[in-house]
Amino acid sequence: MLQEIDATVLEDTVLSLDDLARSCRVSREWIIEHVQWGLLPDKNLIETDPNVWIFDSHSFLRIKRIVAIERDFECNPELAGLVADLIEEVESLRTRLRTSELNES
């Protein structure tokens, strides 16, 4: 008998700063700095106490991406942020392109 387990969507659970830092293998300070530099989608976080921050799927994937870009290319955070912005933009344009090609398929 296979083990059955329930999956939960990130938005339905709470992903705290500590959870996120551990999961992406960076320090709390690393994330706090990146938030302060405006590299995460939720800019409102800057004004609030890091201990009450919670992160959604988008923030999770974006941080994971920035961590990987900074590590693989040993680049500075702003450049990693710019690359992440461009990747997200390409993804959104590709999605819209697929939608607009509906009547051509």
């Binding site: 059955e4 329930d6 990130l10 938005e11 551990r22 999961s23 293998r25 994937l61 999605t95 009547n103």
Partner: protein, 313 residues
Amino acid sequence: MEFKDYYKTLDIARNATADEIKKAFRRLARKYHPDVSKEVDAEQKMKEINEAYTVLSDPEKRAAYDQLERQGFQAGSDFQPPPGWDAGFEFTGQGFSDAQAADFSDFFSQLFRNQMGNGARHAHRMRGEDHHAKIMLDLEDSYHGTTRSLTLRMPKLDNQGRTILVEHTLNVRIPKGVHAGQVIRLAGQGGPGHAGEAPGDLFLEVHFKPHPRYRIENKDIYAALPVAPWEAALGATAKIPVPDGLVDVRIPENSQSGRKLRLKGRGIPAASPGDLYLVLEVVLPSAATEKARKFYQTMAQELAFNPRQNLGV
């Protein structure tokens, strides 16, 4: 198990300098970066590149690996590490995580398994690592929820306290309403905890397989709705299949191709559900029969219609 040629993976010479290795890694990391690469097997390639770089960028691992090659092992040859092959090498360099190890090949884990599970070796209390992966779902899964069988490679301690990779299959109940770009969390399904601490979690990034009929944009779904010219002109009610069943759709009169009909709340059934958009596509009956040709000729004569009026001709 096959012997792997890490130099070939990074496309570098056997005597490459540390700087050349780093440059080669970055060049390939750019080429195969899974987010942008157009190569079909980018993700697998990236794992191989990471594995090769983990070994060749660490002087101790590289020296140990080079020695094996000097013993006559070649890429593709059947390989079992000779007993005591790593004697005399002290692996003190930067280790690698359980999560990375789960991504790497059997070849790698055979060679460097004594290094795996750093937490276990130091025997300090440490929660297991979180693992990250992707999951491909069908659009229909999101409408009904689904159970998926996942096979994972998990590091585990064997009787001698060494870390080995074991395959582990589990059935995962995916809730209804998930959509692409969301992350789902499987509590306790990451790396094992050390010294009695809890295991890590497994995070899965949701992707949808391409669907022949539907295009998905966040929580909204788009589908083409083919209509006859008279349905578009006069208005009609059409029965059409949508992801959660059949619906009757009212086509407003005087519609043109490209008009979008919105079925509110019939997109992905998330907490705040998306919408379903039907994009009208007027399909002309073929003029293959005499009867059809006559109809078209009558229309041409009777309707004063110039589709190029906007072009000023």
